[in-house]
């Protein structure tokens, strides 16, 4: 679909513009210097804070900025709750506390052997060939299989899950019908899974939530199905993008690649730097009360793109912000958000990315971008490579 060209990044930006999708960092760098909070009349009005400080201010301010809409779309759809990410205080805390125990570092550590086995099996499929598409053959498969396992779903339904994700997060920005189709299909799917576990409880996340109570009352059907859809979507698309971005960097930087292959103990530190430099997730907020941040008035009813990726490139907080420094020691990055909506899956994502790199580098330490192929990027809320052909 062709979109009207952007006349000015500060007053007419479009986060679906091909230039923004391909490489947004220079755009944000210019904005930070010239107009730290950009605005567009598109999408019924959206603000774009580009500095760490302003992103942080919005993320912390739940009085003026609501999470009831977290994706900027052409047409606001009916409210589709996905607690706790779409919840504001005071409903947010109990909805989040219900899920947190499943995602602590200790709880996640239990899934590490499974993650390792998945990575090894995937690598065996292509290790003897001349190359592969890391995004398609590797990155997208890992989180889909692990989150399916945690939810208690078959691990070979990745295509179905990824279609919903594409319809909800990408197509759904401009096509409400695609969004509603995916919401309907996923609700129906989860409803059936919930029914099975109500009849016969199991030890997975779906059963846990199906039998969960907050202050003695079971979750409403909307809450339950919304939370399950959230876990599935947020558990796949984001980490797939983050893993892909690591490989995008390593395929083009032999020095970093060889250093990590030779010194796997450095991988967790490097993962933090990849998360900073290529943070995949941009959230959104709806302005619900007029306020001013950094001299810029925010009008109720309009949206704010909450760009953690832009915050992470702010040189005021990160020296040499545009450079990937794989042994960066001080790294207070915001890839998993700031404030009460800190990503529940952060420990899971870190484990998956680390294991994905360790297993790959142990088996395929040498690889490079396929010079004949084109790298493509996702658009909208989550940024990551969707096609990433490499040669071994």
């Amino acid at each position: 679909m062709s979109r009207p060209p952007v006349s000015s990044w500060s007053s007419d930006f479009d986060h679906l513009d091909p230039q923004w999708i391909e490489n947004p960092y220079p755009i944000w760098e210019t904005l930070r210097a010239q107009c730290p909070i950009a605005h567009t009349e598109r999408y019924r009005g959206v603000y774009f804070p580009s500095t760490y400080e302003d992103v942080r201010a919005v993320a912390y301010d739940t009085e003026h900025f609501s999470s009831r809409r977290i994706i900027v779309r052409e047409t606001p759809p009916p409210r589709i709750p996905a607690p706790p990410i779409t919840s504001d205080p005071p409903e947010h805390r109990p909805a989040k506390n219900l899920l947190l125990p499943a995602f602590t570092p200790d709880a996640i550590k239990r899934h590490e052997p499974h993650a390792r086995a998945i990575c090894r099996r995937l690598i065996e499929r292509f290790a003897d060939q001349a190359g592969c598409d890391v995004a398609v053959d590797y990155a997208q498969e890992i989180p889909a299989r692990i989150i399916a396992h945690m939810l208690g779903l078959p691990d070979d339904e990745g295509d179905r899950f990824r279609l919903w994700i594409h319809e909800i997060l990408e197509l759904g920005i401009t096509e409400p019908a695609a969004l509603m189709r995916a919401i309907g299909a996923s609700s129906k799917y989860f409803q059936a899974e919930v029914e099975k576990r109500r009849a016969q409880p199991t030890d997975d996340l779906i059963s846990y939530l199906a039998h969960a109570t907050i202050d003695g009352a079971p979750l409403s059907e909307d809450h339950l199905l919304g939370s399950l859809r959230l876990i599935l979507i947020a558990g796949i698309d984001t980490t797939w993008s983050a893993i892909g971005a690591c490989f995008w960097h390593l395929a083009r930087h032999a020095e970093d690649r060889r250093r990590l292959a030779a010194d796997p103990a450095l991988i967790p530190t490097a993962v933090e730097e990849f998360l900073r430099a290529f943070a995949p997730v941009t959230m959104a907020r709806e302005v619900i009360k007029e306020t001013t941040i950094n001299g810029c008035p925010f009008k109720p009813g309009q949206m704010v793109l909450l760009s953690f990726p832009a915050a992470n490139r702010d040189p005021a907080v990160f020296p040499d912000a545009e450079r990937v420094v794989i042994d960066r020691k001080e790294n207070r990055h915001a890839a998993f958000g700031l404030g009460i909506h800190r990503c529940i899956g952060s420990n899971l994502a870190r484990m998956e990315i680390t294991v994905a790199l360790q297993e790959w580098l142990a088996r395929i330490p040498e690889f490079r971008l396929d010079p004949c192929a084109t790298v493509t990027w996702s658009e909208g809320t989550v940024r990551g490579p969707r096609r990433l052909p490499v040669l071994f």
Partner: protein, 106 residues
Amino acid sequence: MSSVRSRSPAPFFDVPPRRCAGRSIRRKRRAEEPGRGALSSVKVKVDRDRCQGHARCAALAPELFALDTLGNAQEIGDGAVPDALIEKAYLAKANCPELAIEVTET
């Protein structure tokens, strides 16, 4: 404070607390512990209202910080930092996205 629970069978993630549960994270500590060295005059403290459970401190300095059953952090014991761990204390502070860690020298 709302109470949350589930009647489902003990789920796979029901991890017995390894080091701590809830707010009470204690450790018997002598002035000098084997392998920990002498205590310095440096102390760490987590602001529990600011902490959002990024868990960076517990990853970078597990000797000084522990996580509760929700994954939120607290300093171990009274937060006193052995000499050998002072650098780690500052590293944890420098990597906390919520600015929830205080390092004090007395």
